[in-house]
Amino acid sequence: MEKNNRIISKLFRNSVISIIAAAIATMLGVVIDGIVIGRFLGPDSMAAYGLVTPIINLATAFSGILATGAQVVCAQHLGAGRADKARRVFSMCMVVTAVLAAVMMVVVFLFRGNIAVLLGANGKSAHLLPLVSDYLLGMLFAFPSVLLLFEFNSLMRLDGDPNRVIVAVVVMTLLDVAGDLLNALIIHGGMLGMGLATSISYFAALVIMLLHFTKKDIIFKMSLKNLKLKDLGDLLSTGSSSAAGSVAAMLRNGVLNRILVATVLSSTAVAAFGVLNTVFNFTSSVMIGVGLTTAMISGMILGEEDRSGAHALVKVSVKTALIIGTFLAAVVFIFADVIAGVFGSADGAKMVELAARGLRFYSVSIILYGLNICFVNYTQGLRRMVLTNIFCFLQGFVYMVLPALALAGMLQTDAVWLSFIIGESLTLITIYIYAAVRKRGIPYKFSDFLFLKEPFGVGEENLFETSVTKADEIIPVSSKVYEFCEEKGAEPKIATLTSLFVEELCNNIVEFGFADKKPHSIDIRVMKLKDGWKIRFRDDCKLFDPTEWIKLHQSDDPASNIGIRMVCGMAKDVNYLSTMELNNLTIHL
């Protein structure tokens, strides 16, 4: 089996930036609000903003479940060539999102006062009730956008429109900063104005994303026909690990806050932890972006049962996590004082000093967090939901809270800062032990961490994989394909046709797809199945559907489109699918 996965690595690198951008976007608006409120509206408004955060967390938690579920399930369907099922799942996701957004808006609008009390605007903090209520009223218009943005993030990528998310994020951020400053300095609209400014900026981003659906050749088109409850079940079960992560985070923060309140520094420590959590939200968004990219591609790999693709994915995912994690860790460690100072000094220099100390401890855990998130998302993409949920809960709650509780008496606030390092270390050790148990030995290669449920795909002995990057590689590959088929007992006709299809299609792709002079690759898999043979071509050239082309260009000219006519005329079945800006052609013989 030769190497076949330049495209997977290239796809990962191309996807991760826009997915990270969108992951940051879902929480950036709220973070910007926090900074502007802290700087310009005073401590009561800042406290009110802090009280509303759980509602935003709830919206992003719902969004996370649907987004993660839709991404993985749709990617799996597309990887298996089932575009109609992917569309159906997408439509179900949109229906559920619309209902959820409507319910959240109505509930918050009608009961914002009660919600404010529930969030903590009572007793000594009763004076915060109007501020919390105003902020909720302004923010509720953002709920549809918050829910949809996260979902569209990965779906746009699957549907060949990856840059739209980046444009939407940039526009949203600029509008949010401008709107917040306008409100704080000129309009003086208070917390209602802050919420409305955020809602307007999220809405602008949503409009930009919705323009995608005006394009002609897209996979995801909304349809209310043939919706199935089974798809909702798939969405929710696959996205459940996202919920597990959110619940774990909420419980963790609650327990760690309690530990900090019990220390000598109490409220200063809680405020410092608030700063650390905000930085954690930002850095984890970046690493979650790497994780979401991993989950999306692993879903596609699952659909196609592509073992070597899984190997390539784990390799590039780990490398990316290490590079980005190291960079973020260095930035947080070196600039800890500056970062802590950005959030104002409501509690004075002591809070900033404590927050900076916490950030330095935390920075050490960032690399480990990145690696753990990649593996958790990878197993989620493979629909190993029990495993994923266990990892999520251990990482997000158990492995952090238990060390913090154990060390609190001895180390006070440092117990909380250390819990990040200890928690991520224990999670990584758990993943390693799991790999060792599966292997019944010492895992040390990437292939030891694939965690595939066997039997997975075609056995290596019945699989031929290779890549073509230049024209002069085509004939040698075509000959090797013939030899492989012959060796595996294929009839002469099958061996000849398989070899012929490789030559014809690769020639077409090289002639027309490689013409832009950029580096390209054609990944080829030839598989001996129980009931026949299958060839899969995947390339990263401009999108081209040969099956549609031949229908539109039936011609009397005998010299035109000979290769495509051969393939479409002599194969049992030819299926084209475009996903993630890749051409995927599957041929059955």
Binding site: S478, S499, L500, P558
Partner: protein, 98 residues
């Protein structure tokens, strides 16, 4: 790919063995056209031919156009796979295949 030719008066027989693909089609075309002067009947013996791609078919088309002006061309001994290729691509309508 190997090509042997047998000339008998104005009849030229080309015995093609092996594969006619993108890498060998140019050689096939050059060798076939080199001896076409004065030929009134061109016979392509494909008994030992086990593979022909679109590159090879374009050469056949080119040879057929030449022979349409100076005589005739026919293909003999093609196996079932090669005949299927002619059929699917419509070349069985253009070429004389026995």
């Amino acid at each position: 790919m190997t090509i042997k030719n047998e000339k008998n008066g104005s009849t030229l027989k080309l015995i093609v063995e092996g594969r006619v693909d993108t890498s060998t089609s140019k050689e096939f075309e050059e060798k076939a056209k080199a001896d076409l002067g004065g030929v009134e009947e061109l016979v392509l013996d494909f008994t030992q031919l086990n593979y022909i791609s679109s590159a090879g078919l374009r050469v056949l088309l080119s040879l057929q156009k030449i022979m349409n002006k100076q005589g005739s061309m026919k293909i003999v001994g093609a196996n079932d796979i090669v005949k299927d290729i002619f059929e699917v691509t419509g070349f069985s309508e253009i070429l004389t295949v026995e």
